[in-house]
Symmetry: C2
Subunit: 117 residues, 2 copies
């Protein structure tokens, strides 16, 4: 937005950088399963199969898809240990840990209010 916009309308357009970042984060973790996956990894599940087992109803395919998104977004680190067979581990990145911490108040919000409808 421009200053003249605000002067004209009395409120700012909602497209400032900070807001765009927050909304894009929400649109990422708001996707189906993303929240649960982040939570699961945050709680200590590191293996692919562990995560599938931890998040109720999550399929192999969607986990693969979401992990790629989350990894691409810098929220999760993927490491491959050269065992036989290889051991793949997923962990929260510093960024991912920070995000989870930033989501804590939202969890408290969830505790405060009954789901409506």
């Amino acid at each position: 937005m421009t200053t003249s916009d605000r002067l004209a309308t009395g409120w700012e357009t909602v497209d400032d950088e900070q807001c765009r970042r927050a909304t894009s984060i929400m649109e990422l973790v708001g996707r189906r399963w993303s929240g649960g996956i982040l939570l699961a990894v945050g709680r200590g599940a590191t293996r692919f199969s562990e995560i599938v087992a931890t998040v109720q109803g999550l399929s192999d395919r969607m986990l693969a898809v979401r992990l790629k998104e989350l990894e691409h977004g810098g929220l999760i680190d993927r490491t491959v240990e050269p065992t036989v067979p290889v051991t793949v581990r997923y962990r929260l990145s510093p960024r991912g840990r920070d995000l989870l911490a930033s989501l804590q108040p939202l969890q408290e919000y969830g505790r405060r209010w009954e789901p409506q409808a």
Copy 2:
């Protein structure tokens, strides 16, 4: 999850009530435009047309859809003033204000980290 699940696996399944509430909230506000609309109303835009003007790229149709969802979720209150023509106003409910406050750390998170990729 059950206690035996946890004892068997070493980590909990992610389906506790608190988590479900938080993820459903994220899936609601993570929908396209929802975040911006909430922000806009939080910043003082109350009229339908004001909100459209405030959120860049938002169409009439999507605003109508999202407002219905947010109203249904108890986040926004819709009031009709019996003027001619009628004046419809949207405001954050107490719940909506609490949600926005709970989302504040996420905005700060957005300030801390550059968008990746």
